[in-house]
Structure formats: structure tokens, C-alpha cells
Amino acid sequence: MTLWWSTLCVAAPLLAAVLLFIRPKWMAGIALVAVTLVLVGALGLASVLHDSGPQFIAIGGWGAPLGIGWRIDGLTVTMLLMAGIVGWPVTLYAHGYFGGAAAGRHFWPLWMLLLTALCSLFLSNDLFNWYVTLELLGLSAVALVTLSGKKAALDAAQRYLYTGLVGSLFYLMGVALIYNDYGVLDLAVLREVTEPSLALWVALGLMAFGLLVKSALFPLHFWLPAAHGSAPAPVSAILSALVVKGAFYILLRLWFDLVPATLPDAVSLILGGLGAGAIIWGSLQAIRATRLKMLVAYSTVAQLGYLALFFPLSESGQWGDAALTGLVYFMFAHGCAKGAMFLAAGNLQRAAGHDDLVSLAPTAQALPVSMFAFAIGGVSIMGLPPSGGFIAKWSLLNAAIGSGGWIWVAVMIAGGLLSAGYIFRVLSLSFSESGDEPEPGPELVPVAKSSEWASLLLASIALLLGLNALPMLDLLSIGLPRAG
């Protein structure tokens, strides 16, 4: 069964992409079926995992080192679930958003190819296969950004494209060094054979640099706000919720299987420091933002900083597991919450024709469902109970306190307060009394009901992750990777 469930996650969106390419008219129906199948596949894998533990699949029947292998453990399945759970409302939303517009004709195959790349990436355990999935992921993400057709989006897309390609080439150069040294691409084999050497350090440095660029860790985030802020709303949601996590996932796998235990503490401290920088800098930029979608995009820069805080915390012995749990839960919860916020912001923008924060109040009051979704997403981003963000930050905070990393505790608390700053800013601007009835604002464009409810659905999942965290934590703990 493992084979069928995992194949479903990759084959369903890929087949949908081809069909949507041949017959653009079929559009959303096929995409929705494909995303549902990804979700079904991920749930199927979760049940297999629950019964019989981590799984391996040798594609083509060759096995390592010759063939490509899929590795399926709790981390893999959690990420696949994230892709399916975020993807479903986004697909529903995009149906209302693009309607019959010409841009939709291209959106559907691109989105399906992106989903294929993401699922393959999460399943894979092979350095070169990851390169191909990274390219498929990156190119489809850039193409999706261009769909708005505006100059700002095209400029942002170009910067995103060049940066992403440089990141991929750095990664591939690292792979070349490793292959030159060991002649192996499978991570499970490499874990056994690698030994600290100059070549390994340089290779890891190159790969990590490429992946950090792609996952936009401060100060390599420069391409992100414009790209995420100028893309069509469903695309922004996909990019912030899912795409940046693809590269980070690979980094995490390398961290556990390839980075030798002799890694100097300074490296993880630097990574943590960059994370702290991201949290502070990104939050401050979000507070200063004048456009709603830019605010949400800068919030992504800040939230990605929490991912980097994991590295110094994971070094701390018995608290490492807590830190990893917190990290993965964070990725999941952030995916749902941030996706919901971008979808809600897209509704406001669609209705008002702009997303300038200062004149958002009338629109916000006309779209209570979307505003409610934004607020719930915000609760999770701030890390308030009861939300997925709370569980995630609580675990990270626990690990930091337990291991005596008081700096990280301070950073996380500061980050929480700053995020409250930008989210309450949006809320207060939205619910401010319009006072003595200003100019009878321009007519609002009607927003599809499905788009409003899609954003609320995603936000509710972020909340649900906090209310009922145990099943998720159980799943995650199956075959929890450990450094070695």
C-alpha cells in the first residue's frame, strides 16, 4: 500500500497538469480532484506509518546506491499533509479568483506542476533528484508570480528567477563535490560513509547557501517580499505557505544525515543569529509596510527566522527532539495561517481594487468573513492559544528554556510582541470607525463566496492544529530523524 499512496501524491497532480495543459477548459475540477488525491495519499501514508513505522521505496526496483529512493517517515508525511491541507482551500479559492480569466488557463497546469515538485521533494532522499525537484518547484513558482502581468510582478519574478537559479547552481556544485568524493547520491548511504573533510565542509557550505537563498533566510530574503507581495493572491499563499519550505526541508534532511557531529558551535549560532535578525528585521518592516500584502510578505520573512532558531536549539541534547517537534509544527501551522492571511488579503484587494492599509476600513467591514479569517490566522502567527502557532512556539520556547538558551527565549518573546504589533495594526485600521461617513467610497467589486470561505477554512485549520495537537505530534514522532 505504501507504494500506491506515495505514488498517488506525485502522479495525481502530474497527470492533472498534463490534462489541464491539453484541455485548458477542464480547469478547476481536475485540480480539485488531484489535490484531494494528494490529501488521500498523505492520509494513507499516515495510517501505514502508524501501523508499521517508517518506509522506504526503491523506484525502479534498483535501490541505493544505483536507483532513486523514497523515504517515508513522520516528517515526510507531515509535510505531504501540509501540502494537501494548504493546497485544498487554495485550489478552491483560485477557482473563484481566476474564474474564466485568461490567466487561469495558465495557473492550473503551473500549480499542479508545483504541487508535483513539492510532493516529490518531500518523498525523495536523493541529492540529485532534489536538484530536479528544486528546479521544477522554483521555475513553476516564478512562472506563477508573472501571472498578474503587471510590471512590478515581472520585475520581482525576474529577480526571483535569477536568485533561485543561482541557489540551485550552488546546491548542484555542492552535490558535485560530494559525488566526486563518495560517488553516491542517496542520503541514507551517504549518512554511513561520510567523514569530516574539507571537501565535505565546502560541499555542505555550498548546498546550505543555495538552500538558504531559496528559503529566504535573512539577509538572503531580498527577493521574497516583492515576489510574494506582487503575485496574484492564491500564488502568494502557495509561495509563502509551501514553496519556501521545500528548500528548508532539504536543508533539514542534510542537517540530520550529512552534517558531521563535529560541526563547530559557531555555525549553528550564526544560523540562529540570522534567524533572530530575520524575526526582528522582518517584523519591523511588516510594521512599517503601507500595503497589506507587503505586510504579510514581510511577516513571512520574520516567521522564517523561527525556522533557523531550530539549529542552535537542536544542538542541546535531550531538548533537540522538542525543538524538532516545534519546528515541524511551526512549518505546518505557519503554512495554514499565512496561507489564510494571503487569501484574505487577496479578497480585500480584489474587492477594493487596491491593498493600501490606510484606506482599507470600508472594504474590511464589507467582508467580515475574510477579516475574521485574517484575524484567526493572525492569532496563530502571534502564537496565542489556542492555535497551531501556539503549540509550535511553546515547544520551541520549552526547548530554549530547557537548554538555557536565554537569548533565543528573548528573541522569541520579542518576535511574538512585534507580530502582535503588525497584526493589531491591520485589525485596528480595519475596524476603525469610519466616523462621519467619508466620501462614498468607490464601488466594491464582488468577491466570490467560495474565496471568502476558503480563507476561513484554512484559518480554522490553523486553529484546529492548536485545539487537537496530539494526532499530529504522534505522526511526527514516527521515525524522528536524529543527528548522528
Partner: protein, 90 residues
């Protein structure tokens, strides 16, 4: 230093040349050439890793480079079309 090492060093040099062009050049087309030359550098390092000590050449890096070349031409086609689209908006 063997001939293989020599080609590997040429590959590294191409990688950094392409990278610096990407940073320093202003025109899209030059930067796209930079990306391509950077990629060729990586491919050269990969192909040299196929040559061990006196054994038959390892086909896996060759296949990786073939894949890489196709990905590179795809990315180039897209990058060129994107800069054409931006040009129209000027």
C-alpha cells in the same frame, strides 16, 4: 595534477566567472549568459567526477549533466521570454 584535475579547475573558474558576471553585469542577456556559463562550470566538475582511477567512465554523472543541460536550456528560454516581457512594459 592530472588532466581531469585541470578540467575540474576550468569548471570552477567558469563557475566563478559566471557568478561575477551575474552580479556585476546590468543587461539581462549578459546575466543570462553568466548563468549558463556558471552552469557549464558545475557540469564540468560533475563530468570530471566520472573518471576514477583507470576504471570505465561512470555513466551517472553523464546522465546528471544531460538532465542539467535540458534544465538549463529551459530556464534560459524562460528567462529570455521574461526579459522580453519586461522590455514591453518599459
Amino acid at each position: 595534477m592530472t588532466v581531469t584535475d585541470f578540467y575540474a579547475l576550468v569548471g570552477v573558474a567558469l563557475f566563478v566567472m559566471g557568478l561575477s558576471a551575474l552580479i556585476l553585469r546590468k543587461r539581462d542577456l549578459q546575466r543570462i549568459l553568466g548563468l549558463n556559463i556558471m552552469g557549464t562550470g558545475v557540469f564540468m566538475v560533475l563530468v570530471t567526477s566520472a573518471l576514477g582511477q583507470g576504471q570505465p567512465a561512470d555513466p551517472v554523472p553523464h546522465a546528471m549533466v544531460l538532465t542539467g543541460i535540458v534544465v538549463a536550456v529551459s530556464a534560459t528560454a524562460f528567462a529570455l521570454a521574461l526579459s522580453l516581457a519586461r522590455e514591453r512594459h518599459k
